[in-house]
């Protein structure tokens, strides 16, 4: 793991800190609720929770600007909440209801929001990496200075198409930040057992792509690294790799028996490295917030999450006609929206 905390004195306002606390807590409480609804049979199929990794997306969203794009794999609920998508729409998609972002036709792994420039939600490990580079290709072609955050895991980092993409992204100087969310386990296979290099970001060197490892349990360290990466891409210097060392507390998916790591290992991470506790400490010790202030935030988040669960339960199942819609478009929807 990278060092526990960013060494530099954090250049951050109390309001920003509170916002990060709120955003990370929203993800955690939302995911806990999703786990609960899964247990009740309201969410089906695969459901990959983001608990433990919250600082990654919240830190990077703090470095993003209006118009930047993001794309990720199937552990995607956190990314959607962090970029401002509506918790009701996300939760209702998890329950497969009409009010979901894909009107119940996508599920946990397949949600999109062109409005928030979130391009999914992809279930094939590694496949979203060239897709993300393609979004960046479009921005470069169109001559704007937008950046695409392309998230993938330590497991995906062993897929061939990732390196095909590194090659072309470097060759064509595409404005893409490759974010490797290294939670140390590709499903149940530890990085040590699957990956020849201890620091995955160093693989970019073969393509001339700069990169660095970041402490993913420290939202401020993530933001700082994100700002550096974004500045690099926006200035036309091509791609940048951030390997963010993080940890998922829950199983790979809901049906993970967790036999590949010890309970103590998980417990130790939760107790010593938790990203939300870190910000909570900063807020309290710095006198930026009182216990009561934080309790108020906790309550506010709980309400948002409970409302999303209620919405997701009450929203009806999609109409049967939906089976046959959205197969072939008359007009490319994103082009129509842009007009």
């Amino acid at each position: 793991m990278a060092p526990r905390k960013s060494n530099a004195k954090p250049n951050v306002s109390a309001d920003e800190l509170k916002a990060y606390y709120r955003d990370m807590l929203l993800i955690r409480r939302f995911e806990e609720k999703a786990g609960q609804l899964y247990g009740m049979g309201l969410i089906g199929g695969f459901c990959h929770l983001y608990i433990g990794q919250e600082a990654v997306v919240v830190g990077l969203e703090a470095a993003a600007e209006e118009g930047d794009r993001r794309i990720t794999t199937y552990r995607d609920h956190g990314h959607m909440l962090a970029c401002g998508m509506d918790p009701n729409g996300v939760m209702a998609e998890l329950t497969g209801r009409e009010g979901g972002y894909s009107r119940g036709k996508g599920g946990s792994m397949h949600m999109f929001s062109t409005e928030k420039r979130f391009y999914g939600g992809h279930g094939i490990v590694g496949a979203n990496v060239p897709l993300g580079a393609g979004l960046a290709f479009a921005d470069k072609y169109l001559g704007n200075d937008r950046v695409t955050f392309t998230y993938f895991g330590d497991g995906a980092a062993n897929q061939g198409q990732v390196y095909e993409t590194f090659n072309m992204a470097a060759l064509w100087e595409l404005p893409v930040v490759f974010v490797i969310e290294n939670n140390q386990y590709a499903m149940g296979t530890s990085q040590k057992r699957s990956t020849s290099t201890p620091d995955i970001y160093t693989r970019g060197a073969a393509f001339g792509i700069p990169g660095e490892a970041v402490d993913g349990m420290d939202v401020l360290a993530v933001r700082e690294a994100g700002e550096k990466a974004v500045a690099h891409c926006r200035s036309g210097k091509g791609p940048y790799i951030l390997e963010i060392k993080t940890y998922r507390y829950r199983g790979h998916s809901m049906s993970d028996p967790a036999k590949y790591r010890t309970r103590e290992e998980v417990q130790k991470m939760r107790e010593e490295k938790d990203a939300i506790e870190h910000v909570r400490d900063l807020l309290l010790s710095g006198g930026h917030a009182s216990e009561d202030d934080l309790k108020a935030i906790d309550k506010e988040i709980k309400d948002v999450v409970n409302k999303s669960a209620d919405f997701a339960k009450e929203s009806p199942e999609p109409a049967v006609e939906e089976l046959w819609t959205d197969i072939i478009a008359d007009v490319a929807p994103q082009e129509e929206a842009a007009q």
Partner: protein, 460 residues
């Protein structure tokens, strides 16, 4: 309020499980994330975590109990300030709530899907261009090249990427001169990396561009088929209509000449199976041009299957500034009363040659060129078979689950009473493509096979 903790579903298929072990006891305080119990599912032993904080008021199911149904209350959790005395009222309230939830999960609110697929369009046999239009001789290669150049002039967001499309001028010269006219920004040589550049193309289509991705041959696109199907074809549906993939994948498909098994495969049937894709396989230069222009303008992913042997063939092409052919419209190349021969792409050469020879013996074949395989103009095929009562299909692809098989099934279901003979499918043989010249010839279908099939279905 006290809440019941329910037996969780811990896998997509779990209906019941064994409560193997309690790790908490009555009176214990738990926080969200604390492990409360071990539960054996149909797959594994899982740890069950608390979602809310509180005190365990009562354990309802003893450890070691087998066959505990999902959503059965297994314990009661008390909030701050509550005591075990509150349990009774709480459990009845939350039990009814839980029941509602399980109903919601198990009983679909709406009736089983009865929605029907939209009806297919009616047969359209209108001419592709106005009568009296001036014509000129063009090769399929020139027609494809002109289609791309015209569309790139019309729309700045159209670009082409692929192996050797720019400086080399195209491995088969389909992109000749495009680099000179449009420059390196829009005519892009890629590394040999089909999977990667197919994915970049799809991403670019989401980002507001209209990519044409050339595969040097479709054989190499097997490296990229995941991006074509999972990313391009399915996203409109998975996104509930928010995002489409306006992209054309094109290149030569099927057998060329003496290039062996790995370079000689026809993918028509493969891609035609995929909802969300358009699949086109033109025969003539005019169809190639009109359909490629339509493909580039279409908001959906298009698989455009060309043929190397046809590239150099010349056909009459209308001299029109802007000429397109709609998808889903077959073309009747030759009218006849005795038998319907249905084909597409290079299969049309066998079909038309067979029809000429059969005519010498007085058998008049109607030859239908499907042109687009998805959507497929089965209405025109059915209308023709209702007239001729007999059908032979022709393609170079493999026989199992072929386009011919599909047409046979459609005719059986929708024109059974009109058929006077079983439909015969002329296809490539069920073998990898051999290299030896004599064997290769045998592996493909042939004009003679089509003639023989027609004689069989016409009993003549």
């Amino acid at each position: 309020m006290a809440t019941e903790i329910l037996m969780p579903a811990l896998s997509p298929t779990m209906e019941e499980g064994t409560l193997a072990k309690w790790l908490v006891k009555e009176g214990d305080t738990v926080n969200a994330g604390d492990i409360m119990a071990e539960i054996e599912t149909d797959k594994a032993t899982m740890e069950f975590e608390a979602v809310d904080e509180g005190t365990i008021g009562k354990i309802l199911i003893e450890e070691g109990t087998e066959g505990v149904k999902v959503n059965t209350p297994i314990a009661v959790l008390l909030e701050e300030g509550e005591s075990a005395d509150d349990i009774d009222t709480a459990s009845s309230a939350s039990a009814s709530e839980a029941k509602d939830d399980s109903d919601a999960a198990e009983t679909p609110k709406s009736a089983p899907a009865e929605a029907k697929a939209p009806a297919a369009p009616k047969s359209d046999t209108s001419p592709d261009w106005p009568e009296g239009t001036e014509m000129e001789k063009k090769t399929v290669r020139e027609a494809l090249n002109a289609a791309m150049a015209e569309e790139m002039r019309r729309d700045d967001t159209v670009f082409i990427m692929g192996e050797e499309v720019a400086e080399y001028q195209g491995a088969y010269k389909i992109t000749q001169n495009l680099l000179d006219e449009f420059g390196g920004k829009r005519v892009i040589d890629t590394p040999i990396t089909e999977h990667g550049f197919a994915g970049i193309g799809v991403g670019a289509s989401w980002g507001g561009l209209r990519p044409i991705v050339e595969f040097m041959t479709w054989n190499f696109a097997m490296q990229a088929i995941d991006q074509i199907i999972n990313s391009a074809a399915k996203t409109l549906y998975m996104s509930g209509g928010q995002m489409g993939s306006p992209i054309v994948f094109r290149g030569p498909n099927g057998a060329a000449a003496r290039v062996g098994a790995q370079h000689s495969q026809d993918y028509a049937a493969w891609y035609s199976q995929v909802p969300g894709l358009r699949v086109v396989q033109p025969y003539s230069a005019a169809c190639a041009k009109g359909l490629l222009k339509t493909a580039i303008r279409d908001p959906n992913p298009v698989v455009f299957l060309e043929n190397e042997i046809l590239y150099g063939r010349s056909f009459e092409v209308p001299k029109l500034d802007d000429f397109t052919i709609p998808f889903g419209k077959a073309k009747i190349w030759r009218e006849g009363e005795d038998v319907t021969i249905v084909s597409f792409g290079i299969g049309m050469t066998y079909a038309l040659e067979a029809a000429e020879k059969l005519a010498e013996d007085g058998i008049e074949a109607e030859v239908v060129d499907l042109r687009t395989l998805r959507p497929m103009d089965t209405d025109t095929v059915i209308a023709s078979v209702m007239k001729t009562n007999r059908c032979v299909t022709v393609e170079e692809g493999w026989p199992v689950a072929s386009i011919g098989n599909h047409i046979s099934a459609v005719l059986m279901q929708q024109a059974f009473d009109y058929l006077d003979a079983p439909v015969i499918n002329c296809t490539g043989k069920d073998v990898p493509m051999p290299y030896a010249a004599n064997l290769e010839k045998l592996a493909l279908t042939s004009t003679q096979e089509v003639i023989d099939a027609v004689r069989q279905v016409t009993y003549r």
